[in-house]
């Protein structure tokens, strides 16, 4: 019992679509509802509250030990943020209960309450107070915060004159110096440049090492794997997996991405203007198998569709990128990288098939993810991030029977010659 930091039991949160979707009701609507609802009810037309309600979270139970860092993963809308919002008391659960033992700090957004007209100094005070720090505590950590954010020279300048990077750094610095026993963090480390992200990650690692309990929501699997030892996977408001973090991440990645190699691209989260878009995308080896080998050609076939007439190939760039299951980008294939394609030139029809071949696919056997992109005149038209899974099967690439085994040996294979010199 005394070892426990958080206990969550059968937690559920229901939203009424009618109440949340239109944003807010006007008084008139409430009046009309008040008059018509009893009449409808009499006539048996009442839609009960149940069928207009959705459960953003249902039946969620878990425990977190003191000093443990728990990763919470899931797709957008799976209920991760709702869970953190309930635990940080911003919103109330509809059912169930949660017990938290220790001072709770939550970080659902970086820079909450920053005011553009106030100086960096004033914003540190204000933001600290909003996050629940005492005045004395802020004063004690002030120099440390300023140094961490690297804004010493601008501390008395209103933050509206800050660059967005400085703004983010300062905001994170305040938050990072919050010292609660239980820290709830939602996707806030995805700010700033790579160097600052590394610094943030380091700071989060420190927080974890100091024995604080952390609940960490992120889409960045590398960060999750680095920081957490245990995780839970949410899907549609329910816990679908929990346990050691690598198992949960693996489960998430395999559920997030369909295992088919050739297929229609529907139902994926995608963005872009849609002026020209992917219709189909397929990957095969040179024998038509839906998998690849490091030492054999890879063939990528794709169908693009557009409603725009006379789109010339020089205006359109098509690309796809290969990432590891840890989210690291390995290689990008791009129409700009092929001189012959560039000089050929053609006009896109209503549907156009493209094909991209490589002589081999020298990646370590394993599972990889494809992100697809198409731009037109520099504007993003369609993007499907990590939307396809490809499998690279084992093959005797080096002719020695040896292959890199773990991820510590890297991802790429390259033919190599060793001699005594």
């Amino acid at each position: 019992m005394s070892d426990l930091a958080i206990r969550v039991e059968k937690l559920g949160k229901q939203y009424r679509i009618g109440a949340t979707q239109p944003g807010y009701r006007t008084f008139r609507e409430a009046l009309i509802d008040g008059v018509t609802a009893p009449i409808n009810r009499m006539r048996g037309l009442a839609h009960t509250a149940e069928d207009r309600a959705i459960w953003a979270l249902r039946d969620v139970s878990f425990e977190v030990r003191r000093g443990e860092v728990l990763g919470i993963i899931g797709r957008n809308g799976a209920g991760k943020t709702t869970l953190l919002r309930i635990l940080s008391r911003i919103t109330e659960p509809t059912e169930g209960c949660a017990e938290l033992y220790g001072r709770v700090g939550s970080l659902l957004e970086v820079g909450t309450g920053f005011h553009p007209e106030l100086t960096g100094r004033d914003n540190i005070d204000l933001n600290g107070a909003i996050l629940g720090m005492r005045k004395a505590e802020i004063g004690r950590k002030f120099d440390e915060i300023v140094a961490f954010a690297e804004v010493e020279k601008f501390i008395d300048t209103p933050v509206k004159h800050y660059s967005s990077g400085m703004h983010m750094r300062l905001a994170f610095a305040v938050a990072a110096h919050l010292e609660p026993d239980i820290l709830l963090v939602d996707e806030v480390l995805a700010v700033g440049d790579a160097a600052f992200q590394r610094k943030c990650l380091g700071k989060m690692g420190e927080v974890a090492k100091e024995g604080r309990t952390v609940l960490f929501v992120s889409h960045n699997m590398t960060m999750i794997l680095n920081l957490c030892r245990r995780g839970i996977l949410l899907d549609n408001g329910r816990i679908t997996a929990s346990g050691p973090i690598d198992e949960v991440v693996e489960r998430y990645l395999s559920s997030a991405v369909p295992a088919t190699l050739i297929g229609r691209l529907g139902g994926h989260a995608r963005d872009g203007s849609g002026g020209i878009r992917f219709k189909e995308f397929g990957v095969t080896d040179d024998q038509g198998n839906p998998w690849l080998h490091p030492n054999r050609p890879a063939i990528f076939r794709m169908t693009l569709e557009t409603d725009v007439q006379g789109l010339h190939s020089s205006q359109v760039t098509v690309a796809f990128a290969v990432s590891t299951s840890f989210g690291e980008r390995l290689i990008e294939f791009h129409t700009k990288f092929d001189k012959e394609y560039q000089s050929e030139g053609f006009v896109f029809g209503k549907t156009t098939n493209l094909i991209c071949r490589t002589s081999e696919f020298p990646l370590k056997p394993g599972t990889y993810y494809l992100s697809l992109y198409v731009d037109c005149n520099g504007e993003l038209c369609d993007r499907l991030k990590d939307s396809m899974r490809i499998e690279v099967r084992e093959a005797d690439y080096f002719g020695t029977g040896a292959l890199p085994s773990s991820s510590t040996q890297g991802w790429l294979l390259l033919e190599q010659r060793w001699r005594r010199d």
């Binding site: 019992m1 109440a19 009701r25 106030l118 026993d181």
Partner: protein, 302 residues
């Protein structure tokens, strides 16, 4: 190793105020325990928690003050300009043209002395009613007792009042009027004014979260309320027996109190003031309970 970690945690949490005591378990070890479950019906006021967050009240008040006149050319002079020019307009139309009596006082100081608490009230009411919607980015991202927001907004209005008050002192010197022996009661009337503003503001801000009609109703409401308050005219115009009922408008009590305490008009506002205080207490308490009841849905509906 585990024991050492626990020890440091126990040390760190020592002395922090516990929010909700667990029925059993860690409570005696001084670890703050928080139990979250759906609440039903009316919530307790829990003013202790508001007190616990007093530093946040201070910082938000101070932010509102700092930011208010940023990037204005006239700055804090606005705090004086508004009541001053209203006074001039009132003096011309009501005092000079309509010849409305002013209890034997020069009309300008008669009007200004009433406009002071009125501006404080109207400003606090408007600002606090819009405060939750204006701070929705805070409400949806971080927890604190939501009362902090309207309370700090009302407090921030006091600075304008103090600045405008200086002009009243100047006018009293100009007209050769000495403060009465009961001038010390002025802060009590100020308290009554902001109590009323907060009470109404709590109702309206909570309603505003769900019904944005409130935003449009407020200017209308304050305008009507202005004429229902003895600012341009003395309450002695109201027939005697009705005067106590007039106190149902707490601002009538405040304005009468101001004139009595500073300018020495009439009798101490007895019955009228009692009614005003009672009304204010009812509005404030009911506002607090209503606010606390609605508070739990703010983040979902705002």
């Amino acid at each position: 190793m585990r024991a050492a970690i626990e020890e440091t945690i126990a040390q760190k949490t020592d002395g922090t105020v516990s929010l909700v005591q667990a029925p059993e378990g860690d409570a005696e070890r001084g670890i703050p325990t928080l139990i979250i479950r759906p609440s039903r019906g009316w919530a307790a006021l829990d003013l202790a928690e508001l007190w616990h967050y007093r530093e946040l009240v201070y910082f938000l008040t101070w932010r509102d003050i700092q930011v208010r006149y940023k990037q204005t050319a006239l700055g804090a002079a606005w705090a004086v300009i508004q009541p001053f020019f209203t006074m001039i307009v009132f003096s011309i139309f009501f005092g000079w043209l309509a010849k409305i009596p002013s209890d034997g006082l020069p009309y300008p100081i008669f009007a200004y002395c009433a406009l002071l608490p009125w501006q404080l009230f109207a400003h606090s009411l408007t600002q606090s009613s819009n405060s939750l919607v204006a701070n929705q980015h805070l409400i949806t991202k971080v927890y604190f007792p939501r009362l902090v927001i309207p309370v700090s907004t009302v407090l921030a209005g006091l600075l304008d009042f103090l600045i405008a008050f200086v002009l009243l002192i100047g006018m009293m010197i100009y007209y050769g009027m000495a403060p009465t022996a009961v001038a010390w009661t002025v802060p009590l009337f100020v308290l009554l004014a902001i109590g009323t503003a907060l009470g109404v503001g709590l109702w309206l801000s909570a309603l505003n979260v769900q019904y944005r009609d409130v935003r449009y109703a407020i200017p209308f409401l304050t305008q009507l309320w202005l004429f229902a308050t003895p600012i341009a005219y003395p309450s002695s115009l109201i027939p005697g027996p009705w005067r106590t009922i007039y106190g149902l408008n707490p601002m009538a009590g405040v304005v009468e109190g101001f004139r009595w305490a500073l300018l020495g008009t009439g009798n101490p506002p007895g019955g009228l003031l009692l009614v005003s205080v009672a009304v204010t207490l009812i509005v404030l308490l009911s506002g607090l309970y209503y606010f606390r009841r609605m508070e739990r849905t703010f983040a979902d509906t705002v």
